[in-house]
Every structure is written in structure tokens, then in C-alpha cells.
């Protein structure tokens, strides 16, 4: 019988003093070692016996992981160790990247978010990751320290499958960079769970919109879906429809239908594929309409 309270399996906790040391250790123990940030996913999977790592390498506190910095000419840098609560409470995040704060606040509970990190949410690459859509639409790029030095990984090409990313053994993500958002950008994250808060998403819809003179409609709207594909799903058709056709009830309905037609969700314990598809259309329509209303049509 399964234990009611399985203990964590045995592993060694490693706290390297430098990024070089961390990357070397992780590369030398590929397949047996994992970087540790908040641990809120790692501990669950280790208790369940899904992950069997022999080493957890604590990369919190290493160079560049421990601050949130905003440069009005470049944008925002979120250190990998910054918790979701620290991100959502940060005045520059609230002012310039409100869609990220909105998404962060819909993850699990306050006390979980006081450990969980945004960078960890990204690296975990769950199709249900609540904050990933916002980070993609905000043009996020990860700073990565590996055994061969530092490099950048744009989120647009980062996700390869559930739990699978462009990261290699030895890679430590030190921070997430978000460029300055376009002027007048608004955004929101609508999450459908089995209850109003704290649950994993059945589906998640992240939308941003902003005035754009280069678009025939005068606006650019973008949409990403969670929990309906192996990776976060950017629906390019939404942007195409709403930048070329005048934005109105009909074009928004067409864009929402395109989101529904593009996604290919699965049946699982949280919901059926059919329900997911219908709710993708409904919540896409709701999110796009709300953003459109707020943009001041």
C-alpha cells in the first residue's frame, strides 16, 4: 500500500559557491543531479517516485539569481531565485508587466508562491505552467550558465515537450530578461481550474494587446494557451486575424474560434478534451473582449 506521507527519498544536498562549480557538478552527474530553486515541483515528484535524482544542487544565491532589476531603457531582469510573491509584489512588475503579476497570482496558494519561482515554473516546462504564457508574450529570454560559458535562450524556442526544454546537463538558468513592453500594452491571464483558485489549470489563456500603427486594425493582440498541447501554444492566427481585420465582436469571435481549432488537448483527470476545446474558445473570446474594451475601442 502506498504510504499516506511518503518521505523524501535519499539524496545529497549540494550548495555550490560559484556558477562554474554548479555547472561542472551538474554536467559531471548528468541524469543524477538537478538544479534546485523553490523545490515545489521537485519534492512532489521525488516523493511520488517519479524523479530519482541522487543530488539536488541548490543554485539559489549564486551570481545574478537574487535580484529583480528594472532598467527603463532595457527592461526587467528577474533573478532565478526570486519567488513568485517577490515578483508579483515588485512595483516595476506591477507597473510595466502587469500580465505577469496577474498570472503569478493565480499559481497555487500564497504560501506555495513564497517558495515557488517564475524561472522554476519555466524550466519545469509543464504544459499547465501558469506564468509561462505571460513570459512568452512579453518576449522573455533566459540567461543560462553552462559548462561552455553563458548564453541566452529565447522562450519562443525553449519548450520541446512536457518537461523537456533546450537546457542541457550543466545548464543553470540565472535569470529571465523581459524587454520593455510596447507602449500601452495591456494583458491578462484567465485560468480555468476545478475550483476558483489554487488548482492546476484545466486550460489557461494569456492575452496581451497594444496599439500598433503598423497593423491594419491599429492594434496587435497575441494569445497563448496552457494545458492544451505538449508545450505552451502560441496561436499565431489570433494575431493575424486581429491585426488585419477591424477589431469587433465578429473578428474576436473568429479569433477565439481559431484558438479552439488550433489546439489539440487530451482527456485527463482534470477535464475532457472536448470540454477543454470549448472552454478555449469561450475564455479566449472573454479575454480578447476584455482587453479590447480596456484598450478603449
Amino acid at each position: 500500500m502506498q504510504e499516506a506521507h511518503p518521505s523524501l527519498p535519499e539524496f545529497d544536498y549540494i550548495k555550490p559557491k560559484t556558477l562554474a562549480e554548479a555547472s561542472q557538478f551538474l554536467a559531471d552527474h548528468a541524469g543524477k543531479a538537478r538544479p534546485l530553486l523553490g523545490g515545489t515541483d521537485i519534492f512532489v515528484r521525488m516523493r511520488d517516485g517519479v524523479w530519482k535524482d541522487k543530488y539536488l544542487v541548490d543554485v539559489k544565491g549564486l551570481n545574478g539569481t537574487n535580484e529583480i532589476a528594472f532598467d527603463p531603457t532595457k527592461g526587467l531582469t528577474i533573478g532565478a531565485a526570486m519567488t513568485m510573491n517577490q515578483v508579483s509584489a515588485h512595483p516595476d512588475v506591477k507597473e510595466h508587466y502587469a500580465v505577469l503579476a496577474d498570472a503569478v497570482d493565480k499559481v497555487a496558494s500564497y504560501q506555495l508562491r513564497s517558495r515557488a519561482t517564475t524561472v522554476g515554473n519555466i524550466c519545469n516546462a509543464s504544459p499547465a505552467g501558469d506564468t509561462i504564457g505571460a513570459c512568452i508574450l512579453l518576449g522573455g529570454v533566459l540567461n543560462v550558465h553552462g559548462v561552455d560559458g553563458v548564453r541566452q535562450e529565447p522562450l519562443s524556442s525553449f519548450f520541446k515537450g512536457p518537461g523537456s526544454t533546450a537546457l542541457k546537463p550543466g545548464d543553470v538558468v540565472t535569470s529571465l530578461e523581459l524587454p520593455l513592453p510596447p507602449k500601452g500594452m495591456l494583458g491578462k491571464y484567465l485560468k480555468l481550474g476545478r475550483n476558483k483558485s489554487s488548482d492546476l489549470s484545466i486550460i489557461g489563456v494569456t492575452v496581451v494587446g497594444f496599439p500598433d500603427e503598423s497593423a491594419a486594425s491599429g492594434y496587435r493582440m497575441k494569445l497563448v494557451l496552457a494545458s492544451v498541447a505538449p508545450v505552451p501554444l502560441v496561436v499565431d492566427k489570433v494575431e493575424e486575424i486581429l491585426s488585419t481585420k477591424p477589431i469587433a465582436e465578429e473578428s474576436i469571435a473568429e479569433a477565439a474560434q481559431a484558438a479552439m481549432d488550433t489546439c489539440a488537448p487530451i482527456d485527463d483527470v482534470r477535464a475532457s478534451a472536448r470540454y477543454r476545446k470549448i472552454m478555449v474558445r469561450n475564455l479566449s473570446q472573454k479575454a480578447l473582449t476584455e482587453i479590447w474594451n480596456e484598450l478603449g475601442r
Binding site: H5, P6, S7, L8, P9, E10, F11, D12, Y13, G38, G39, T40, F43, V44, R47, L56, D58, N85, A108, S109, Y110, Q111, L112, S114, R115, S197, S198
Partner: protein, 155 residues
Amino acid sequence: MAYHKITLTVNGETEQIDVPSNMTLLKMLRERLGKTGTKNGCSAGECGACTVMINGEPVNSCMILAVECDGLEIVTVEGLADNGALAPVQEAIMESGGIQCGFCTPGVLIASQALLNRNPNPSEDQIREALVGNLCRCTGYVRIIEAVQEAAQMQ
């Protein structure tokens, strides 16, 4: 498995402990320090029964390793009272009947106190949001929420 010597403060008292790598803060509190007020519910960061304050912020103690708490300040439910005088939130939850079986209560008290520390006059929505991570199967939450509102008045 590696052991680590850590020094931390629990309810104002400094403790030096040798902990194995895989020991959670929850297990250390209960099994090494005898602070059994903190409960083990789900071991998955969902029920909130194990909530303690770390440097003033509520944290699921099943979701953090003891070794990660080196140098930190922990407050458990045993540390809410001041010299035997219960905190307002403790008085209020008794008065309102926000307790039945009591298993969730330590986590509810810590999460509520942490909320009142960062927002002394929360709205009902803010209280509900702050307690999303504390599951109670007995009370239906109404009396817990009333207790936090009452405690805000008392403070």
C-alpha cells in the same frame, strides 16, 4: 547521505541541529524539536496544515528542506502566543467557532497572522485569497474568515 549542521531560530530560540539532506523543515520541527503543533497533511504543498512563518512569510514546511533554513527565523503555531497570552487571531478563532477537528488550525493561524502582518485590515476577498492554501474539511470556512476579520479589529 550527507548531513549538514545548521543554525536557525525557532520561536525566538536559537537551535543548532545536524540534519540529513532529505529532511524537510516539517519533519525537523516535529521529530527533532518536538514542535508537533505543525501538522503533516498532504506532503504535497496543497493542504497548508504544515504552514509556518519563515522570516515573516508563510511557507509550506513540507516544501522546504531543513538544510535550506540555515540562518533563517521560523515561527510555528507554538510561537504565536506572547508569554502565554494568545494572539488576537487565536482568541478570535476560538470565539467564532472556526475550529472543529483542529487539524488545519495551526496552518490557518499562521497564514492568517502572516496576512494581518502584511495587511492589518484585509477585505473578505483578501482573506479568502490568503487562505486558499489552507484546506479545512469541517468548518466550511465562514467562521474562520469571521475570525480573521475579528482579529483585525482586535489588533
